[in-house]
């Protein structure tokens, strides 16, 4: 099964969305690398939830709206998105830049959320703990540095890119730069308001995350009251791909507990 593809207009912006499964709603916010592909972890989540996997404004086949300047803009967009689809008791899952977006959303309003899952989220800064400079990574390094298990990178790198895919990558990088170049991958004000998050929150990290070091996990956990941190051993920045089964299992169990 693949996610059902549709184009939706929310707040004047046309986006592409994949949707699949039955059950309580789960909104997945992708990272800086982009979305648009129905991946195995979505398929597995769709056995338990109705999964909404939009491509962010400015990414992939979604339009780039005039109003998009910051991750905060994306957060408001997804609050509008939740209202537009009438979603209630949402399990909100965000990865990396999507995790940052999810945290910004939850700081603004947890009204329609049931649980929050942040997977290797960007968004805050720890003095003295440098994130990697993804904008200086060559294309091959970008893929290699995402995974602890290099056979995954080997498989991805074995498939040549079409010109179309290269243009999508360029578009995604452009939007990521717009949102996260300076300050790099964080909002200096977000940490002040993370205590406002009032739904059960699960933070997931790979202990070999090369982009956002695992030291950010405990920092996030301390800032979100009552949140729980789980770290995957021998895992990089993309546990949803590198540890699909465990990653999904934890989210399913966590959402069940939150009920």
């Amino acid at each position: 099964m693949a996610g059902h593809e549709s184009f939706e207009t929310v707040t004047g912006c046309k986006i592409r969305m994949l949707r699949g499964g039955k059950g309580a709603p789960l909104l997945y916010l992708h990272g800086a690398g982009g979305g648009g592909i129905w991946l195995p972890f979505m398929e597995k989540l769709a056995e338990h939830f109705e999964v909404f996997a939009p491509e962010h404004p400015g990414y992939g086949d979604s339009d780039t709206p005039e109003w998009l300047d910051t991750v905060g803009d994306l957060a408001y967009f997804y609050l509008d998105f939740i209202r537009r689809f009438g979603l209630k008791d949402v399990t909100l899952v965000g990865s990396s830049l999507g995790g940052w977006t999810a945290a910004e959303l939850a700081v603004r309003s947890c009204h329609d959320l049931k649980a929050l899952v942040l997977s290797c989220p960007a968004g805050i800064h720890l003095k003295g703990v440098a994130k990697a400079d993804l904008f200086l990574w060559a294309p091959e390094d970008t893929i290699r540095n995402m995974y602890f298990d290099q056979t995954i990178a080997d498989q991805l790198l074995a498939v040549p890119l079409s010109d179309e895919q290269r243009m999508v990558i360029a578009k995604n990088r452009l939007t990521t730069a717009k949102l996260a170049w300076q300050p790099r991958l964080y909002n200096p004000h977000l940490h002040k308001w993370l205590h406002r998050i009032s739904v059960p929150t699960l933070i997931l990290w790979g202990d070999h995350d090369k982009l956002i070091p695992p030291a950010y996990g405990p920092a996030y956990q301390q800032l979100i009251p009552g949140s729980k941190l789980d770290v995957f051993k021998n895992c990089g920045h993309v546990p949803q791909t590198e540890r699909t089964d465990e990653w999904v299992r934890r989210i399913v169990a966590f959402a069940r507990e939150a009920a």
């Binding site: 360029a170 452009l174 730069a177």
Partner: protein, 394 residues
């Protein structure tokens, strides 16, 4: 048709250890500044200023300084310091500041003020360059490349407003907002100093620079002559589309140059120095050169085609002479080449970069003199004769 000669200098760190690239992949951004020795730097700065001042004494039309940050390729991060030093020591030449990289600045009013000061001190010898900087600058200064174009336009509008509208005025932009725009001093040249736009070639820049409200001089920098031809044609077409005919005054070309007694001597003397420039100082990976948004998605293909090969693999002097990226030879050869290019393509300014890589002082001086004594007079005589015959016809 006159051709004006502007002496261009990058002021590289010529003492750079050539083996740096065994450990580091760029002479920019991440190359440790422990490679820089301030004692050598002190000598280089003063030597380079001497070279520029000598060009003025020899009667060049103008001299140029330049802006690059955190690299060994060019040591003028704050070009106004150099222009300030030159403003008193040079007497006749124009001084073109080919910075400033506007999108890097949090407050572009500093450029309005700095340029106005230089214009006052020199009594109107300033040429104001506005650039976006090369991609590496956005890494070095943490400026967002995705905002580069928009900030450039907004900063430009702010500076021109500061120069031309009686202050105080307000400025209400997206990136810059000022309650009091009131530039003291006002520029010496009225309404403002000539504005030049150096670029490596983009349709957006050309369409903007050629707009009838601006008609700015577009400078094609360090590109093959075929790219120059293509972008000059684009400028003329853009002007025609906007209802006027562009003149040669609106086009300039900047490239490294070296003149010696014969072609053979020139080639032999220039070879190690231009190759150091090409293979050591220009070295940087693609991600550094083109951060996201620095060029629009639409023009990405164009610029890649124009610059293809420039940072790939070891380059040789033969290649760059062949492609017309490097002007090298006897006075006669350089005159012929320039004459040919000027007739075919059309440009009013030539900005020979007279020092490149490790080229030592004696050779810079020799080449500068050959330009001043044989090449520049050739074109001045030609322009004079053309003017005379035009008057006779009239």
């Amino acid at each position: 048709m006159s051709l004006k000669f502007f002496f261009f200098h990058l002021m590289p760190y010529a003492a750079l250890d050539p083996d740096y690239d065994k450990k580091y992949n760029a002479a920019w951004v991440t190359l440790p500044n422990s490679y820089y020795d301030p004692k050598i730097g002190h000598q280089l700065y003063n030597r380079y200023l001497d070279e520029i001042e000598y060009a003025d004494a020899l009667g060049w039309d103008g001299v140029c300084v330049n802006e690059h940050h955190q690299n060994a390729y060019g040591l003028m991060p704050i070009p106004g310091v150099m222009a300030g030093a030159l403003s008193r020591r040079t007497k006749n030449s124009k001084i073109a500041v080919l910075g400033r990289a506007l999108p890097l600045l949090n407050n572009p009013l500093v450029v309005a003020e700095e340029f106005a000061m230089l214009d006052n001190i020199t009594g109107g010898r300033l040429v104001a360059g506005f650039v976006r900087g090369i991609g590496a600058e956005y890494h070095s200064w943490g400026a967002n490349p995705a905002e580069s174009h928009d900030r450039f336009h907004e900063a430009h509008d702010l500076i021109v407003q500061a120069w031309t509208q009686p202050g105080p005025t307000k400025f209400e932009g997206k990136y810059y907002h000022f309650e009091y725009v009131n530039c003291w001093p006002r520029p010496y040249q009225q309404p403002h100093p000539p504005i030049w736009i150096p670029s490596q070639g983009s349709r957006e820049t050309i369409e903007w620079a050629s707009h009838p409200d601006r008609k700015y001089t577009y400078l094609q920098t360090f590109s093959p002559v075929s790219a120059l031809a293509r972008f000059v044609k684009m400028y003329h077409e853009a002007a025609a589309k906007q209802g006027y005919q562009a003149t040669n005054e609106q086009i300039g070309w900047s490239l490294p140059a070296y003149a010696a007694e014969t072609d053979e001597i020139a080639r032999r003397e220039a070879k190690p120095h231009i190759e150091f420039f090409l293979n050591k100082l220009l070295r940087m990976p693609q991600e550094m050169l083109l951060p996201p948004g620095y060029i629009s998605l639409a023009s990405m293909k164009g610029i890649l085609a124009a610059k293809r090969g420039i940072s790939a693999g070891a380059r040789t002097i033969d290649e760059v002479i062949e492609q017309g990226i490097f002007l090298c030879g006897s006075a006669k050869t350089i005159c012929e080449r320039l004459e040919k290019y000027r007739e075919e393509i059309g440009f009013g300014y030539i900005l020979p970069q007279m020092q490149f890589g490790t080229l030592p002082h004696e050779l810079v001086t020799k080449s500068t003199e050959i330009f001043a004594k044989e090449i520049i007079p050739y074109f001045r005589a030609k322009a004079g004769a053309e003017k005379k015959s035009a008057r006779a016809r009239a």
